[in-house]
């Protein structure tokens, strides 16, 4: 690998875009640099399931159009990785499942089509927990992805492939999907930025559904501005998705740039949720939160001390800039995981019924068998244990006689959680929590303990249940293990722009404090 191409992989997407626009580099060079990087490190990381064999051709087309004087979109020529849950008409789209192995959809997901339209260059498809069920990418049918910070550790999930690709400098940008934290939790444990937009903000058309009322596609990047730029490309109304919001959206890139202005967080009211990493550490009336290193106690049960420490330090930085910390309570959040693990399996059990061997995907022949036998054998062979577990859970939760007690109650909890958010946003502009309760755990550590695995989504799930946007960005390395910790901000529905402004402001403060981006501290891989 040449030094020059190595440098290109270190650039943020907006920096690459700037150099492409200025004619300093070509898209072919940028794309080749990333393909070289993938060739060098992905054997270890295993972020990718499929590589785009025509990436360089696509890059060359973009270069030709630029050379011809064509006005191109801001990210034109920049490579991007795509989570394998998104349909691509030129690459297999497996959602990490054996049952879809080799399946090439006849169409592009809307977000993929929009990226192509904007001239981004797909590098390939990234690994994930099967059908996005998991928090570690260990449930991929095609083997786990490893955390670039420590290859014995998980990269988060379900979108561990996208986050690892970005953190390992294999791609400057990636697309993920977030049903209960699958963008934000991997971002947190790999030191990346991940944004789950407002439900309905980004089209779900062509995103292989896990839980339709919770799923949302979003960007995974190394900087807040990059996430905003990618969100600008993929977001906005899509008539093919009935749940897509028809309103126009502001420029998220502009919102991120606003975050760099002096004094932008002055007067910003940041709500700290006592049930999610806030509480007991002071700071409720302003002033001292920033100084409470190691402030883990009381309601912060389940949170790793170093994660909480970095979280409160981050709040302290913002407070110093004039932000106001407000302690808020969201009592229903306590039931979020329970509700989530009823609603998600219920919807998933129905969404995954179509995988029956009749029209596409795996078919397991049963000599002399009936269609029911073939369907059953195919699903038995094609689905992994976690998928089967959730299908069984969901089928049970929807069954006559149990519906009210399970699915019905879960929907009521969902309403209560939405009310908690409404009340909280009456008192603050954004909510802040740690992105995930812990840093990356070891591969295999929680594989046999589904409940422990589920608890990893504690902080991310409420945003999905309420449909509000959430962004995760690095808050530093936890002192006890030297692994990335993250901070999450949430805003009212449709206020995604506010998150980009606040996150960009904090990111700038961190870069000053750390003397550069956190990922610069990651160990070399190759």
């Amino acid at each position: 690998m040449s030094a020059a191409s190595s440098d290109l992989t270190r650039l943020a997407a907006h920096e690459l875009a700037e150099k492409l626009r200025a004619g300093e580099i070509s898209s072919v060079e940028a794309t080749r640099a990333h393909l070289d990087r993938i060739a060098a490190v992905d054997g270890d990381v295993h972020a990718f399931l499929h590589l785009n064999t025509s990436a360089l051709e696509t890059a060359a087309e973009i270069d030709a159009r630029r050379a011809a004087g064509e006005e191109l979109a801001p990210l034109a020529g920049v490579p991007v990785a795509i989570k394998d849950v998104l349909c691509t008409r030129d690459m297999p789209s497996t959602a990490g499942s054996r049952i879809l192995e080799g399946w090439i959809p006849p169409y592009d997901a809307t977000v993929v089509a929009r990226m192509r339209e904007a001239g981004l260059v797909p590098l390939g498809k990234t690994n994930m927990d099967e059908f996005a069920m998991g928090s570690s990418t260990e449930h991929s049918a095609f083997g786990p992805t490893r955390n670039p910070w420590d290859r014995e550790r998980i990269p988060g999930g379900s979108g561990g492939g996208s986050a690892a690709a970005v953190a390992a400098f294999e791609a400057p940008l990636a697309l993920g999907s977030d049903t209960g934290g699958s963008i934000r939790q991997p971002a947190a444990v790999t030191g990346s930025v991940g944004m789950k937009p407002t439900y309905g903000g980004v089209s779900r058309y062509g995103a292989i559904a896990l839980a339709s009322s919770l799923d949302q596609v979003g960007p995974v990047t190394r900087t807040v501005l990059d996430a905003a730029l990618l969100h600008d490309v993929i977001g906005g109304h899509d008539p093919r998705d009935s749940t897509s919001i028809p309103d126009a959206w502001p420029s998220f890139a502009d919102a991120a740039r606003t975050g760099l202005r002096e004094g932008v967080v002055k007067g910003l009211r940041i709500g700290v949720v006592s049930e999610l990493g806030g509480g007991t550490t002071g700071g409720t009336t302003g002033g001292t939160t920033g100084g409470t290193a190691g402030g883990a106690a009381g309601a912060s049960q389940g949170f790793q001390p170093g994660v909480l420490q970095r979280f409160h330090e981050a709040l302290g930085l913002l407070e110093k800039q004039g932000a106001e910390l407000v302690e808020v309570s969201a009592p229903s959040f306590e039931y979020a995981i329970s509700a989530y693990y009823l609603i998600l399996p219920a919807e998933a059990s129905s969404n995954l019924a179509k995988f029956d061997s009749v029209r596409f995907g795996l078919r397991t022949e049963v000599p002399g068998g009936t269609i029911e036998d073939v369907m059953a054998a195919t699903r038995e062979a094609g689905f992994g244990d976690e998928v089967k577990r959730r299908i069984i859970l969901g089928t049970y939760a929807l069954s006559a006689g149990y519906y009210d007690a399970y699915y019905g109650s879960a929907q009521k909890v969902r309403t209560l959680i939405q009310r908690d958010f409404d009340a909280a946003f009456g008192a603050c502009d954004v909510l802040a929590t740690p992105s995930a309760p812990t840093t990356a755990f070891k591969l295999g550590e929680k594989l046999d303990d589904p409940l422990a695995m589920y608890l990893n989504d504690l902080t991310t799930i409420p945003a999905n249940l309420a449909g509000v946007p959430g962004i995760a960005l690095p808050s530093g390395l936890a002192p006890e293990d030297g692994l990335p910790a993250g901070i999450q901000f949430m805003a009212p529905a449709r206020q995604d722009a506010r998150l980009y402004t606040v996150a960009a402001a904090l990111e700038a403060l961190f870069v000053d404090a750390w003397g550069g981006p956190l990922l610069a501290q990651a160990p070399a891989l190759a």
Partner: protein, 510 residues
């Protein structure tokens, strides 16, 4: 399988009270499907010869990642139908998923409506053959998508079990449906079969008048599931018995079959109950050829479709303005229309019912609109055309267009053909020989209007029967009939009998 015992119908009615219920599926004739932009095979201009699996999109195949989008036109059609059934229209209705595995169901769930249908609580007045009006209570009308079609290869029964292979055609998958569900219909008694037929016929007339379905039962545009249960007659001083166990006879797809299937189930169930047996709650298949039903799959309350709200779709919230606009655009209610036409045409009750019971109201109406006198339109449709249709086992409306019937009437009125020749003209038109005028030309059916030729024929006939003129002069005018007959015979039927008669009378007075 031995043919099950049937109880005599009248005896069954003596012992038991039949309770009916109907589920009618109407395929809407929108240009595109319920949730995708694929062409709708139930549209008026659909390509009915389309190869299997060509009228589909990723949505209809349920491909991973695809999402449904509601067809707004289908919603408007459903609202119109709900209004025509006297239903309330929900200001908010939702779609739900009905989950079950079957290979014709691409997603292995059907998007339907469950607890919040678009239309509910209606009633429909239907008219039986003798003019009796019956009010059928409507429970609900809801929107859903149709499934694909399975063809089973090999195996004796043509059903999935025992077949060697099954082919699936998803062209029909996603066709917009409205399912109309009645409440239990009490009090039909011995007229239960007739009530079933008249109810389905009325639905057919309504959806046709609304222009929301092709409503061709033979093509499956309109499909009826007939529910029948019996309960014992209450004995004096005893409380009314609870409802009996029902059977649901599926896909009874002609008016006549609805009538026959209801009658059959009443007789079959009565035989079982009177022998001390119990009725199995099940779906049953209707066999058109044998006129019997046979057990399908058991249907019990244990059927669990795991309904839950469809998360891919938003609630349907039609504005009050839209509902009122659709209400204002509703065509006349059938009962009102019948009254208006009867008065406009000046028919007697019996004449009018004759037309209506033949299912020819629309045809006569259109023939009158094309210029024919009402009496003439009625005569030809319920007479010659119905006769030919019956002989050929076809529907009269499929044989000839109202405009052509009006043209035939005009040919008779203007004396170009007589009634007898007109029958041949109609036959020619039905056989595809062209327009009525062309048939007259090709078959050489014009009446002889040359008086010279007629007089020559009259003279020849009079030479055979010389006493006729004398009889006429004595006032026995009917004696002319013998000469008219002879002349018509000599002219091969192509003479205007009235003119012949005139000429004979002139001759007698000469």
């Amino acid at each position: 399988m031995a043919k099950p015992d049937l109880m005599d119908f009248d005896k069954a009615l003596e012992m038991y009270e039949p309770v009916l219920g109907f589920e009618v599926h109407v395929e809407l004739s929108t240009q595109t499907k319920m949730f995708s932009d694929a062409p709708n095979p139930a549209a008026p201009n659909a390509d009915r010869d389309a190869a299997p699996n060509t009228q589909i999109t990723p949505v209809d195949l349920g491909l991973p990642g695809s999402l449904p989008v509601v067809n707004e036109k289908a919603v408007e059609y459903a609202i119109s139908l709900g209004l025509a059934l006297g239903c309330e229209i929900a200001s908010r209705s939702t779609f739900s998923r009905k989950n079950y595995f079957y290979p014709d169901l691409a997603k292995n769930y059907q998007i339907s409506q469950y607890d919040e249908p678009i239309a509910f609580e209606g009633s429909l007045v239907i008219e039986l053959e003798d003019g009796t009006e019956v009010t059928v209570p409507i429970e609900r009308a809801h929107m859903e998508e149709d499934a694909g079609k399975l063809t089973h290869i090999g195996g004796a029964t043509g059903r999935i079990h025992g077949a060697e292979a099954s082919l699936v055609d998803y062209n029909r998958a996603g066709v917009p449906l409205v399912e109309i569900v009645t409440k239990p219909i009490f009090g039909a008694e011995g007229r239960a079969p007739e009530v079933g037929k008249a109810y389905v016929a009325t639905i057919r007339d309504i959806v046709r008048a609304l222009g929301i379905s092709e409503a061709r039962m033979e093509r499956g545009n309109l499909r009826c599931d007939a529910n029948v249960s019996l309960r014992p007659r209450a004995q004096a001083g005893q409380p009314v018995a609870p409802l009996g166990t029902r059977t649901e006879t599926k896909n009874v797809n002609s008016l006549r079959s609805v009538e026959r299937a209801v009658r059959y189930e009443i007789q079959r169930q009565a035989a079982i109950l009177s022998a001390g047996g119990t009725i199995t709650q099940e779906t049953r298949h209707w066999h058109e050829d044998k006129g019997t039903t046979s057990p399908g799959r058991p249907k019990s309350d244990a059927d669990d479709y795991r309904y839950f709200p469809e998360p891919d779709l938003l609630p349907i919230e039609p504005s009050a303005g839209l509902i009122e606009q659709l209400r204002a655009a509703l065509p006349e209610a059938p009962a009102v229309r019948r009254k208006r036409l009867r008065e406009a045409w000046g028919f007697t009750e019996a004449e009018f019912r004759d037309v209506q019971n033949s299912g020819l109201l629309a045809e006569v109406e259109e023939t009158v609109a094309a210029g024919a006198a009402p009496a003439q339109a009625r005569k030809w449709w319920t007479g010659e055309i119905a006769r030919i249709a019956n002989a050929r086992d076809a529907e009269p409306a499929e044989l000839i267009a109202p405009e052509q019937v009006a043209a035939v009437v005009e040919l008779v009125e203007s004396g170009v053909v007589n009634d007898k020749l007109a029958r041949q003209v109609i036959e020619g038109v039905i056989d595809g020989e062209g327009t009525p005028a062309e048939v007259v030309e090709r078959r050489g059916l014009k009446v002889v209007s040359d008086d010279g030729a007629l007089i020559a024929a009259i003279d020849a006939a009079l030479a055979e029967q010389p006493d006729v003129l004398e009889k006429i002069r004595e006032g026995k005018v009917q004696a002319a009939g013998a000469i008219i007959g002879a002349v018509m015979k000599a002219m091969g039927g192509q003479a205007d009998a009235a003119r012949v008669r005139e000429l004979i009378l002139e001759r007698a007075q000469a």
